[in-house]
Structure formats: structure tokens, C-alpha cells
Amino acid sequence: MGGLKGEERKYSLAFFTTTSSSSFPQPQNGEVILDQSLKTEGVAVGDMFEHPQTGEELEVTGFVEHERFNHAPAAFVSEQTFKTMFRMNQKQVLFTKEQKQISGLESFSKSDFLASIPSYQAEQMTLSMILWFLVLISGMLFAIFFYMMNVQKTGMFGILKAIGIRTRELFYMMWAQMLVLTILALFLSGTVSQAAGFLLPEAMPYDLPLSTTLTLSALFLAVGFVGSTLSGLRIRQIKPLEAIQQGEG
């Protein structure tokens, strides 16, 4: 961790350097490549920064997307610049695509490494709990919505049973209604939440991959199915006459 001084202010950054890696950018000596979140703070290609401790001048030569360490934007510098800035010859982290045991080094998987970041696990656990709690509450509301919507129409279903509609046809009706409403709702909410990813400021830690949206959509479809099926089971048990009398009331 460290910082760089610009013309007007100082930026807190997490510095990285790599050797012969295709996974990370490879700037030249005297250059720095920054996370794109700094663009929104007015940093542009060609800007000059100074390292406060060493006086090293660095020119911004590009930006990378979504490269942050903890909450600090990443700054990629050359190996020589890194050595000058931090006065150390040994690498702090060696990244390999597959996990290897190397003598004298401690090996971490990606998830172990992330867990070793100070307060990362505690923060993620809190966020995950909030997230899944919201999913649980929304799911319950969704199921209750379909349950109540159908149970409120008990009188109508009673009439339909009285005029001779089979119970299974009432189920098809409830499922069709649920499908239409759910698909419409998921399409709208999916579009809005995906659009939010493009519209929200870079500094806001918002990441909703399409795969997560699709997984949650499938989950909500299943929850809606459960809600409407439960109401159907209740309506199946009710006699047409009881249902009509409730509806008349």
C-alpha cells in the first residue's frame, strides 16, 4: 500500500509489479497504469505523479478495469520502479495459474489469499448476510403475494368449480398467471439491475454478473411456483359451495 501525489491531491493506491505475466499490465520504468476508478476523479493518460518518499516521477500511461486491492485502486508499475519505491528485491507475492508448493514460500489458493486480507472475511460475511437476508425476505414476499392473490379469489374459483372446471385446470390457470407476472417482473427487475451496473459511479462497489441475475431469476420463478401451488392446494380442498358463500360474503 502507498500513495502518489498529483498536482492537486494525493491518491492512496495499492502498488503491484509483475514479471513476464500476461494476466497483468506491464508498464515501463517511470510509467504507472491505474484502476479506471481514478478516471472519474479527473486523472487522465499523460498526467504526472510523484512518489512522496522517493521523489520518483511517474506518468499515467493507461487504465485497467476493476483492479482493486481491498478498497484501494491498484497501480501497476515496473519491477525497477517498484524496487526503487519500496526498497526491496524479493517479490511479496508470486502468482501462478495453478496452485504450487515452492520451497521457502507459503502457498495460498485464491480464496485463501482473499481471506488473508485484513477484515475481508468479516466485511464479506456481513454483506453476504445482508444480501441473502434480502433475497429471503423478497422470496417470502413473492410467494405470499401469489398465495394471497389466489386465496382472495376463492369465490371466483368456487364458481369455476361449480360450473364444472376441473381442479387441474384451475392449477394451470394459477401457474399461467404466475408465469406471466413473474417473467414480466423478472425481465423488468433484471433490466434495471443490469442497467444499474453501467449507470452507477465506478467508485460504488456494485457488481451483478448476468449469471447471478439468471440464478436469482430461476430461484424466484421456483418460489412463485411454490406460492401459487400452495394456494392451489388450499383451493382444491375447498368445496364449491363453501367457496361461493365466502365469495358472496
Binding site: K153, G155, M156, G158, I159, L160, K161, A162, I163, G164, I165, R166, E169, M173, Q177, K239, P240, L241, I244, G247, E248
Partner: protein, 221 residues
């Protein structure tokens, strides 16, 4: 020819240790092309008799003979089939399916009765109930009178042999009640149905071909 014959119908309800006999041996026949009105004070048993005749609840004793078949001994699926194909129902509330248009309500009924969707008969019934211009309308956009006329159209689109109408004008004002009852009488004549009507409104009796008065679970007139 008598389409529908009820003989010695008795119905007893049990409430804890107390037994209450609501129908005490009722005999009634209803005939094609006629509106038979059942009247009586609240609790006289007229609605119970209608729902028993329609196969919506069981009888404690007695026979309900429809075209030679005793409905009192039919299984639930047989009753459902008879209700779908041969009976029509109109209740106090129209209970239209909220997400179907007027036309779709009729198509659904034809489907339930196992009949082909027939645009001509749908148009003809909608003409008769005066809803041709509202055929694409959803129930939410219909007035009370229009909803009840749509319910009548749904009840008769499959040309049932028997029409059961339980207080069909109870939620309507006087003018709309007259319209609906006039319509019911015309439909009964035109389609040759036997209509059993339960009402507590004396004004509506002018539309009935026969009036049957009930008191304390028995027919008195």
C-alpha cells in the same frame, strides 16, 4: 316432459349435538322453457334446495332425477361433468374471471362443457344480452349490470338444460334488475331451458312462469 324432478328431499345439518332439519321432504319438478321461482323468508331453505338440486351439496335423503339419472347417488366427477355440460349457474355476484375478456369467458365455458368454440353462437348470445360492443372488455371495466349480463351469457352459452339462478339481481338496482330478469325469461324461452330461480324480491315474480313458496323447509304453494 319433466326435465328435472326432486322427490322427498331432506337435508339435516349437524352443529355439535344439535341437529337442524332445513329441508323436510320437498317435492319439486321444473320444466323446460319455464322460469320456476322459489321464494320464501330467509332460512326457509330455498337456497339450500337450489344448491342440492344443482349438485353442489349432498342431500340427506331423497332423489334428484335428471334425464333418468339420480344425481343424489352420483360420484363427484360425474356431478362435475353434468354441471359442466347440462347446467348453467348465475349467482348474486358475477364472479367473472378478472383476466379474461367477456368473449374469452364464453370461450372458456364452451371449452369446459366440451363444445367447440363457436364464434357465431358467441356473437348471438352477446347480441341477446346486449354486450356485443363489450366483447373485448375485461370485467374491471364493466358496470354491475354488464357484469351480470356477461355472467348470464356465460351461464347459457353451452345451451344447458337447466339454469340455476341464486338471487341474480340482489346486487343490482331496480331498473337493471328488470333488465336482467327480462333477459333470463327470454333466454329460458328461446333456449328451452328449465330455470330455477331463487329470489326474495317480490317484484321479480312477474317474470316467473311458476312461483313456489317455501316456509320452514317445506313447499307451501
Amino acid at each position: 316432459m319433466r326435465t328435472f324432478q326432486l322427490t322427498n328431499i331432506r337435508k339435516t345439518f349437524r352443529n355439535g349435538d344439535v341437529e337442524e332439519e332445513v329441508l323436510k321432504g320437498v317435492d319439486l319438478s321444473i320444466n323446460p322453457g319455464q322460469v320456476t321461482a322459489l321464494i320464501g323468508a330467509s332460512g326457509s331453505g330455498k337456497s339450500t334446495l337450489l344448491t342440492i338440486a344443482a349438485g353442489l351439496q349432498s342431500t340427506s335423503q331423497g332423489e334428484i332425477v335428471f334425464h333418468g339419472q339420480n344425481l343424489a347417488t352420483c360420484k363427484e366427477e360425474e356431478l362435475r361433468k353434468i354441471r359442466a355440460e347440462a347446467f348453467g349457474f348465475i349467482f348474486q355476484s358475477s364472479h367473472l374471471v378478472p383476466f379474461l375478456t367477456v368473449e374469452e369467458q364464453l370461450s372458456m365455458m364452451l371449452d369446459v362443457a366440451g363444445k367447440h368454440k363457436d364464434e357465431t353462437s358467441i356473437s348471438s348470445i352477446l347480441d341477446q344480452v346486449g354486450l356485443s360492443h363489450r366483447r373485448k372488455a375485461y370485467p374491471a371495466s364493466l358496470s354491475g349490470g354488464e357484469k351480470q349480463r356477461a355472467a348470464i351469457a356465460r351461464a347459457v352459452i353451452h345451451q344447458p338444460s337447466v339454469l340455476f339462478a341464486d338471487e341474480p339481481t340482489a346486487s343490482l338496482d331496480s331498473k337493471k334488475s328488470q333488465e336482467v330478469m327480462g333477459l333470463l325469461k327470454d333466454m329460458t324461452r328461446n333456449l328451452g331451458m328449465a330455470t330455477l330461480l331463487v329470489t326474495h324480491e317480490e317484484d321479480m315474480l312477474t317474470f316467473a312462469d311458476r312461483v313456489v313458496r317455501m316456509e320452514d323447509g317445506k313447499i307451501v304453494v
